[in-house]
């Protein structure tokens, strides 16, 4: 085993839990979170030599995790739009069915939970910066300073983002339940 691989193993061991849980906050699904975390570490392995120590290594890794998670959500959104378009046209989408059936996993606390779906939908309507700041603030282990470093902004900006995200989320959920 090369020294690069050894140090990489140590790096994974040190950060895997935080990375998986960060991704899980965004996607609400364990399997997707693990897949995303794998992508994150692959990216880290690929560009570790290009890492300039302007930020902490952990901050850099979590930034990659956030970017990958947001990309995943965007892809999901596109897929949803496409499958609903297919449904309108009248073409069955077997992939969407498989994805839906995978969602009913009783081992997961959030998946299959109607409220979780509503919450995720509402979260997905928020701007990326608000969503990221809010979700990271809800996760244990991230201080406002760290969130600011990940988002490359100031602590006060993070506080403002979190505040606005809370308000927006409340309004969206309120509007949703009022319509029911």
């Amino acid at each position: 085993m090369t020294s690069k691989e050894e140090s990489f193993r140590a790096l994974v061991a040190g950060h895997q839990e935080m990375v998986i849980n960060t991704c899980y906050r965004f996607v609400f699904n364990r399997e997707d979170a693990e897949d995303l975390a794998q992508d994150v570490f692959i990216e880290v392995f690929r560009s570790l030599e290009q890492f300039r120590e302007e930020a902490k290594l952990s901050t850099w890794i979590y930034r990659i995790a956030v970017t990958k998670s947001l990309d995943h959500l965007r892809r999901q959104k596109r897929k949803k739009r496409f499958s609903s378009l297919k449904r309108i046209i009248g073409i069955d989408d077997p992939i969407a069915e498989i994805a839906d059936s995978n969602g009913d996993n009783p081992a997961e606390a959030l998946v299959g939970n109607e409220q979780a779906v509503i919450l995720q939908d509402a979260l997905n309507t928020l701007p990326d910066s608000q969503k990221t700041a809010f979700l990271l603030s809800k996760q244990e282990g991230f201080s406002n300073q760290e969130i600011a470093d990940i988002l490359k902004t100031s602590v006060s900006a993070v506080e403002s983002l979190v505040h606005r995200a809370k308000k927006n989320l409340h309004d969206k959920l309120y509007a949703y339940y009022a319509m029911q």
Partner: protein, 144 residues
């Protein structure tokens, strides 16, 4: 009587609205609470094994690809060089051939010209004399 009835109805409606709003607020709060209730997930012990396998697969393949790419590039360069050499050789051969053709055509042209310039019978004499050089010299020397 009418006013008391109306006001009680309005109050009832307000109460219902308030209750409805409270209900919505409760649902909103409950939904938002989900984020606080999310328990951190434990990492599967196969996670790192799978990750290292994937890295081995992807980056091992990539280095093989890059090696193959280098080989291909090298082969391409060799082929290109061979092609250049062949083109040069071909050009050289053609130009040599062209020069030779020019020379041979020049000689044959000269011969033709000569035969055109001296077509008369007198020169047959020279032809004959060329066969007997001693005689020719004597006749020529006698002429003047």
């Amino acid at each position: 009587m009418f006013f008391t009835c109306l006001s009680s109805q309005v109050m009832k409606q307000e109460l219902m609205m308030k209750r409805h709003n409270n209900n919505i607020e409760e649902q909103v709060a409950k939904t938002m609470m989900l984020l606080d209730e999310i328990q951190p997930i434990k990492v599967d012990h196969h996670f790192r094994v799978r990750l290292m396998q994937r890295i081995e697969r992807e980056f091992g393949q990539r280095s093989e690809y890059s090696r193959a790419g280098l080989r291909n590039r090298f082969d391409f360069r060799l082929a290109f060089m061979a092609l250049l050499i062949m083109v040069n050789l071909g050009y050289a051969l053609l130009s040599v051939q062209h020069n030779n053709l020019g020379k041979t055509s020049g000689i044959s042209e000269m011969i033709d010209n000569l035969s055109d310039d001296y077509p008369s019978q007198e020169f047959a004499y020279y032809d004959q004399t060329s066969a007997y050089p001693a005689e020719t010299v004597t006749t020529e020397s006698k002429t003047p």
